[in-house]
């Protein structure tokens, strides 16, 4: 048994090389018990490799992985307390749904009656009662996904590993499965590790997310932390949309920094809202999310900073409108997203507008 301080999975300095190619450059991370943890990054960033080293399919070149406080180094994949939901689902085509789900229990030499009971239980958990006799090719994509999940769940592992489990599904089904998977994980409390390249999926489902680039974890944080306080421009632009503006520090006190931001002008920022790891001298860029900027329909309801600009383009999404607004003295227009609430009509391109913004929405970056 482990106490609260021991992480469910402790990854320490894991390096993975394939010949001369280094896929993982010393990964260190703790994954807590009962957590929904995501590995997010573009393809080739090493997220799948990391998942496969946890599962035991790839031996690490150096470093250690411990699950439940136990070093996994010499333990092969078939003896690890992890189970995987594969990207292709890997439903055994020669077996029906029940046989697929019961596959691992049969390996454990569980009596047939118990297997049948466990399988029935887990199938009802994933809403697949009555499909037990179907073969893999008689299932839809979403059903295959449920069977793959059931097959892992029935093993009652410490950790379930999911390798892009929703990427084969269409958008609508994917949205639905994200919610289902998330609530299922909450109700059973097993630690989930999800690999995905879809930032929206990671934000919706995860307790914490590790953003990976080039075999390294760039930032490990909660979804909100990642979105609000990305540590660098790469993370900021991978997760959501962000406007980047060049900036420099013109004055500083113990509590505040004064920044001169391109096209927005001077602003005073309290130090405690900024990333403490960034030295004030090295700040050269700031970022601001599109929804933190406001096209002012009524000048009087905005007490903070304002700047004049011109709408150059609009994208209408029904519930939202995305504006491209050019500010004087700046080539690249700002992206601004506005909710289409009652009484607001779309401002046509060419119209002059006033853009409102607040100091608290500014994120600073160093080069």
């Amino acid at each position: 048994m482990q106490d609260d301080k021991t992480p469910m999975i402790a990854i320490r300095d894991v390096v993975k090389k394939f010949g001369s190619f280094t896929a993982l450059h010393g990964i260190t991370a703790d994954i807590r018990e009962g957590e929904f943890f995501s590995l997010l990054g573009p393809s080739g960033c090493g997220k799948t490799t990391l998942l496969r080293t946890i599962a035991g399919f790839e031996p690490t070149t150096s470093g250690t992985i411990a699950i439940g406080g136990k070093n996994m180094e010499s333990i092969p994949a078939n003896d690890r307390p992890t189970n995987m939901v594969f990207q292709s689902y890997a439903i055994f085509p020669h077996l029906n749904v029940e046989e697929n789900v019961g596959y691992g229990l049969k390996t454990r030499k569980m009596p047939k009656k118990d297997i049948a009971r466990e399988v029935a239980e887990v199938l009802s958990l994933v809403d697949m009662e009555g499909y037990g006799k179907r073969k893999a090719h008689e299932l839809s994509g979403g059903q295959r996904q449920r069977v793959a999940l059931a097959r892992a769940l029935v093993m009652k592992p410490k950790v379930i590993l999911l390798d892009e489990p929703l990427s084969a599904l269409d958008k609508k089904l994917r949205d639905q499965m994200q919610v289902e998977l998330r609530s299922l994980q909450r109700s059973i409390g097993i630690t989930f590790i999800l690999v995905t390249h879809d930032q929206e999926e990671a934000l919706i489902m995860s307790d914490r997310i590790a953003v990976m680039f080039d075999g390294q974890i760039e930032q490990l944080d909660t979804p909100e932390g990642l979105y609000r306080r990305p540590v660098n421009r790469r993370v900021a632009s991978f997760i959501g949309v962000m406007n980047f503006l060049s900036a420099r520090v013109t004055a500083q006190t113990d509590t505040h920094l004064t920044l001169d931001i391109d096209a927005l002008g001077k602003v005073e920022l309290p130090r405690d809202t900024l990333d403490p790891d960034i030295a004030s001298d090295s700040i050269d860029t700031v970022g601001v999310r599109p929804e933190m900027l406001t096209v002012l329909f009524d000048q009087n309801d905005w007490s903070q900073n304002k700047v004049e600009g011109e709408v150059v383009d609009t994208e209408y999404y029904g519930d939202m409108t995305y504006y491209k607004v050019r500010l004087p003295g700046r080539e690249e227009p700002l992206s601004i997203s506005m909710r289409n609430t009652a009484g607001r009509s779309v401002v046509p391109p060419g119209s002059p507008v006033t853009v409102g913004w607040g100091a608290e929405s500014i994120v600073v970056f160093e080069e």
């Binding site: 394939f18 010949g19 190619f21 896929a23």
Partner: protein, 288 residues
């Protein structure tokens, strides 16, 4: 994925090594030995291992061998062209016009191929012979008064028999190549103004070229090595180089000369095959 290479390489090589080893010992080594042999000489039962080009001199200058070599090439090329030309429309029909029972058609095409090769050749002799099925039928129907004699024991008989023997080998590669053609490419060609004929020559044929080349080679190469068909239905005018190779290794008991003939035939046919291969590549590429 390329970066899995190192670990996979070992496993892959280990796995394939029994088969590879077998082929090295049973094919590569014997082939090398044949080449070596062709530089030796044999007098009745004693073999002289002094290296010499005498066998090749004989193989390339003796009129008998020259005639046989030329005839083999001529017959093989004619057989190949006829077989592939006859096969193409069938492959085309199967790929483009047979909708439901493709597998059945393919199966039916391959069945005759699985009957005894010897018997098939022999039965063509029965069909084409003086009192054969073909002649008796034509006479019975009153088309001819006397049996036709130009259809057995000559080149025609060899061509017909081999075109029959290699039919599935010619049809299948072309069929596969045609099946692979994305049908929307044909629609695109039509959309861009091509009629069916221009479309066929500008899109279908170039894309089918790899299959046509494969068929050609798969028919041509073994045909040169056949000695049963010429012997059974070819008459004296139909004898080919393989018959001579067989005689040298058998009755004539001059294995080194046989080896030199075999190597010569392989080199010539290898060069022709390479020529066809590259011509096909160029033709397929150019029109595209």
């Amino acid at each position: 994925m390329a970066w899995r290479f190192d670990r996979e390489a070992g496993q892959g090589l280990k796995l394939i090594s029994p088969t590879f080893g077998y082929v090295l010992v049973m094919l590569a080594a014997p082939l090398l030995m044949v080449v070596t042999f062709s530089f030796w000489t044999q007098d009745y039962l004693t073999i002289d291992t002094t290296l010499t080009l005498d066998n090749y001199r004989e193989a390339w200058t003796q009129p008998l061998y020259q005639v046989l070599m030329w005839r083999s090439l001529k017959i093989s090329l004619i057989v190949t062209v006829v077989t592939v030309l006859l096969a193409f429309p069938i492959a085309y029909y199967l790929s483009f016009h047979v909708k439901k029972r493709k597998a059945l058609w393919l199966f039916l095409i391959t069945v005759p191929f699985w009957t005894s090769y010897l018997l098939r050749v022999f039965l063509w002799k029965v069909i084409l012979g003086y009192n054969g099925v073909f002649n008796t039928t034509l006479m019975g129907l009153g088309f001819i008064d006397e049996p036709l004699t130009f259809i057995l024991y000559n080149l025609n008989a060899v061509v017909i028999t081999l075109a029959h023997a290699w039919a599935p080998f010619a049809i299948l590669p072309i069929f596969v190549a045609l099946e692979k053609i994305d049908r929307s490419l044909l629609e695109a060609a039509t959309d861009l103004g091509d009629g069916p004929v221009r479309r066929f020559f500008r899109v279908t044929l170039p894309l089918a070229m790899p299959g046509i080349v494969a068929s050609t080679l798969i028919v041509l190469i073994p045909t040169v090595g056949d000695f049963i068909t010429p012997r059974l239905v070819g008459g004296t005018d139909g004898l080919m180089i393989s018959n001579m190779i067989q005689i040298q290794f058998g009755k004539a008991n001059n294995a080194p000369l046989g080896a030199a003939l075999a190597v010569s035939a392989m080199v010539v046919i290898g060069m022709i095959s390479a020529g066809i291969f590259f011509a096909g590549k160029k033709l397929g590429g150019r029109v595209r």
